[in-house]
């Protein structure tokens, strides 16, 4: 765009002029994959996903078949990761035990992020008593440490997998709500939101169409972090004996059931633990990369964000219970 073309020069048939870029997100993804960061993140994520979802097809043994090798047998040619407490083949359990925790963690993360984002945006944009109400609810839920919250919910409501998702997801929601509210407070103060609001567009539409799309960055970062936390909390619950059921081969549960053998066959915990960690690292790194390439802001902002590898953490770690309230005008629009 070195020169402004004259209107005549661009006298193309109307239909040919695209007004919106429909698959813009694809190009964002594409761009983020071009960065080393994006490639590493995506690579790690896909590696783990491949193990989790294709693994069951390649498992040499049934994951629950007992006595394949001796209890906590070390690695051998027919069981390269050795055996677990019941002599089951660790490799087969690893290959079969990924998809469940990944699906559950993803669902819990999605639940937490969606509920949290809705609450956060509504609180920020609508302000007033609703903001107060939402933030008080958030405070109350936050007052239960995440693990304790999930533990209580599960022991009250029963030990079922969908409840595990609900419990973990719900415990994420208030944290997401706080972060998103802080970010949304900033966005709702932007002129482009006001520009639409003063035309009388309904608040719900403004929130959905103007505010939310501009929260992709914190949402991506949050989703990545929440994904790690989902896995950590689910594994923690498994450790305490809640959530997953034996004999499910499940990375989170495997770490727990094999820890007696940590000194004899450490692979039985190391392998699933590492896969979970790699997955979390991959997802976070990729979220980070997407964030960077999705930033449609002017150069200076982009430069300052790129310069600081840790910056998204700021938004995430900070509860940002900023007293900065939207000004009265926006609240009452």
């Amino acid at each position: 765009m070195t020169t402004i073309q004259s209107p005549q020069a661009a006298d193309i048939a109307l239909e040919e002029v695209p007004m919106v870029r429909r698959f813009e997100w694809l190009s964002v993804l594409g761009r983020s994959c071009q960065s080393t960061r994006g490639m590493v993140g995506l690579g790690l994520t896909f590696l783990v996903l491949a193990v989790a979802f294709l693994g069951p097809l390649f498992a040499p043994e049934k994951p629950n078949k007992v006595g394949v090798v001796g209890a906590f047998a070390g690695p051998s040619s027919n069981a390269i990761f050795g055996g677990d407490a019941l002599g089951r083949d660790v490799l087969s359990r690893v290959l079969s035990g990924g998809w469940q925790i990944i699906v559950l963690a993803t669902l819990a993360t999605a639940l937490g992020v969606v509920v949290g984002a809705i609450a956060g945006v509504a609180a920020a944009y609508l302000g007033g008593w609703l903001d107060n109400l939402i933030m008080r609810v958030v405070d109350v839920v936050l007052a239960f440490p995440q693990l304790v919250f999930a533990l209580l919910l599960i022991s009250v409501a029963g030990n079922q997998l969908w409840l595990l998702v609900v419990a973990v997801g719900t415990s994420h929601a208030p944290q997401v709500a706080r972060v998103i509210r802080a970010a949304a407070l900033d966005v709702t103060e932007r002129d482009y939101v006001k520009a639409v609001a003063i035309t009388g567009v309904s608040p719900v539409r403004v929130m959905l169409r103007e505010v939310l799309p501009n929260l992709t960055t914190p949402l991506m970062v949050e989703s990545g972090l929440r994904m790690s936390f989902s896995i950590i909390v689910m594994a923690g619950l498994a450790f305490l004996g809640f959530g997953f059921q034996p004999p499910d081969a499940n990375w989170g549960y495997m770490i727990n059931e094999n820890r007696i053998g940590a000194a004899i066959n450490p692979l039985a915990i190391l392998v699933p633990a590492m896969l979970l960690a790699i997955f979390a690292i991959g997802v976070n790194t990729f979220a980070d990369a997407v964030t960077r390439s999705a930033l449609r802001v002017d150069r200076t902002v982009r430069a300052s964000i790129t310069a600081d590898a840790g910056s998204p953490a700021l938004a995430v770690v900070l509860p940002a219970e900023d007293q900065a309230m939207p000004s009265k005008e926006t609240k009452t629009l």
Partner: protein, 489 residues
């Protein structure tokens, strides 16, 4: 005297006097108690064993051996029992042990419906009498010739306490005296120098609660404890490297319990099929590294009347399938409820589920917390895994499978069985009783609601400096929690 053990005995040097013995045991929690009548778990048993003595207990061969009682004898018609205390016994506070204390103890248990009352269901405590200073007479409602069995099988609920017993400052006759106690954490005891039997080698005993096996093993490796109990077979290697391992071929078990009054288990063919599905050797080797004793779906392994002539049931998938087909349950789906109530329970469930697959049976495991397991559904789960310490056969039947039993978890009911039982407990003729017992066992073996794949071995470990370890067939750790016989070099 409890040194007549038959299990593995570890190499020992000569006893050393003094020092502190530190035991790190699992299975306890905030509900821990020192009350002689209220023990709930293994670790309560350990503490009870230190503080109290029963009238009659078990030796390391799992045979009855008189403790405080000098005489324990039924009348000819088995309608009453006479129990006489040893002379010169005293409580920790110096007070002599009398017949009043015995009556007080038994009355306390029965009137409060405490655990030990299951041994005394046939005893008419209201009419129990003191005969003399050391002797009591216990009349029975119906003939009951196996009170001695019932008492020693329930010995841990029946420690004799004084008439002014205060559970918060417990006084007993045991080899150790109470020093301090924090539920869920730790209890400390000192040796009772005036013990009526061989006094303890060590000066004090500390029993700590451990949350899990990993912590126990870590502590053993780091020499923070001298004794740990209830290890899994997989830990033997680690434990051996850190000290000595004591394997006790116990008579306790983690049976699979089927409700015989509810479908699909009300069909005896289903019960038989599921028993045939079990590969007992594999269970033994996977869970106990071959240390357990293969079971034959009948209780009472060490009972002199245990019928070893019943052919051992082996895995037979074809037969199981055909039985299921006959019962119209070719693709049976069942839920097995299990809690971490004892080593082997959850493991048995997993291995069983894997084996059942061979016969086309889908076993879904529902793992619940210990509290939930013993919660409101206890005794009415359709299929579950319970845990029992070694109990002689007839006593076990009186607890579980006969009319009026306190733990009718199988809901098994068979008239012939019941009448055999009535005859058995009415006769004091041991030969006749054996015969009746054998017939009952055969019914259990063929039709009962229990699958008893094995009698668990219990694996304990001790630090290198511990001496005096003796295995016990009861399956309880350290030679029946016989802390007084251990020493620390």
């Amino acid at each position: 005297d409890s040194s007549a053990g038959a299990g593995t005995t570890t190499s020992t040097s000569s006893p050393v006097k003094g020092g502190t013995l530190r035991a790190g045991l699992t299975g306890g929690g905030a509900a821990d108690t020192l009350d002689a009548a209220l023990p709930l778990n293994n670790i309560d048993f350990a503490r009870g064993g230190a503080l109290y003595n029963p009238l009659i207990g078990m030796d390391n061969d799992a045979h009855g051996v008189k403790a405080l009682a000098d005489l324990i004898e039924p009348s000819k018609d088995a309608m009453s029992w006479t129990i006489r205390l040893k002379d010169g016994l005293t409580f920790h506070n110096g007070k002599p042990v009398t017949a009043d204390d015995v009556l007080f103890t038994l009355n306390r248990v029965v009137s409060n419906h405490y655990g030990g009352s299951s041994a005394l269901t046939q005893i008419d405590m209201k009419n129990a009498q003191k005969v003399d200073k050391l002797t009591v007479k216990l009349p029975c409602f119906t003939p009951f010739s196996i009170l001695d069995q019932a008492l020693y099988a329930n010995a841990y609920y029946l420690g004799i306490v004084p008439t002014d017993y205060d559970p918060n400052n417990p006084v007993g006759t045991g080899p150790f005296k109470f020093e301090s106690f924090t539920p869920g954490q730790q209890s400390v005891f000192t040796a009772n120098r005036d013990y009526w039997d061989t006094a303890a080698h060590v000066d004090s005993l500390v029993i700590s609660n451990y949350t899990d096996e990993t912590a126990q093993l870590n502590a053993l490796q780091a020499q923070q404890v001298d004794l740990v109990n209830q290890l899994s077979a997989a830990s033997v290697g680690v434990a051996r490297a850190a000290g000595q391992v004591l394997v006790s071929k116990g008579g306790g078990s983690t049976p699979i319990v089927m409700r015989c009054d509810k479908p699909p288990f009300n069909d005896v063919r289903v019960r038989q099929a599921l028993r045939l599905v079990v590969n007992r050797a594999q269970l033994n080797s996977v869970i106990f590294e071959g240390n357990a004793t293969v079971g034959n779906d009948v209780f009472g392994l060490w009972d002199p009347d245990y019928d070893t002539s019943i052919p051992q049931r082996e895995q037979d998938i074809d037969q199981a399938k055909s039985l299921l087909r006959q019962a119209g349950q070719s693709d049976l789906k069942i839920t097995l409820v299990v809690g971490d109530i004892s080593y082997g329970a959850v493991q048995t469930a997993q291995v069983f589920a894997d084996q059942a697959k061979l016969a086309g049976v889908t076993v879904e495991i529902q793992k619940v917390t210990v509290t939930d397991f013993f919660g409101s559904n206890f005794l009415s789960w359709d299929m579950s895994i319970d845990a029992w310490y070694y109990t002689p056969y007839l006593a076990m039947a009186s607890y579980t499978t006969t009319p009026g039993a306190p733990y009718p978890e199988t809901h098994f009911s068979d008239e012939k069985y019941n009448s055999l039982y009535q005859q058995a407990i009415a006769t004091t003729d041991e030969g006749a009783r054996r015969e009746l017992s054998h017939q009952m066992q055969l019914i259990d073996h063929n039709q009962g609601g229990y699958i008893i794949p094995q009698f668990a071995a219990s694996i304990d470990a001790a630090g290198k400096s511990v001496g005096g370890l003796t295995a016990s067939k009861t399956g309880l750790s350290f030679g029946n929690f016989d802390f007084k016989s251990l020493w620390v070099a």
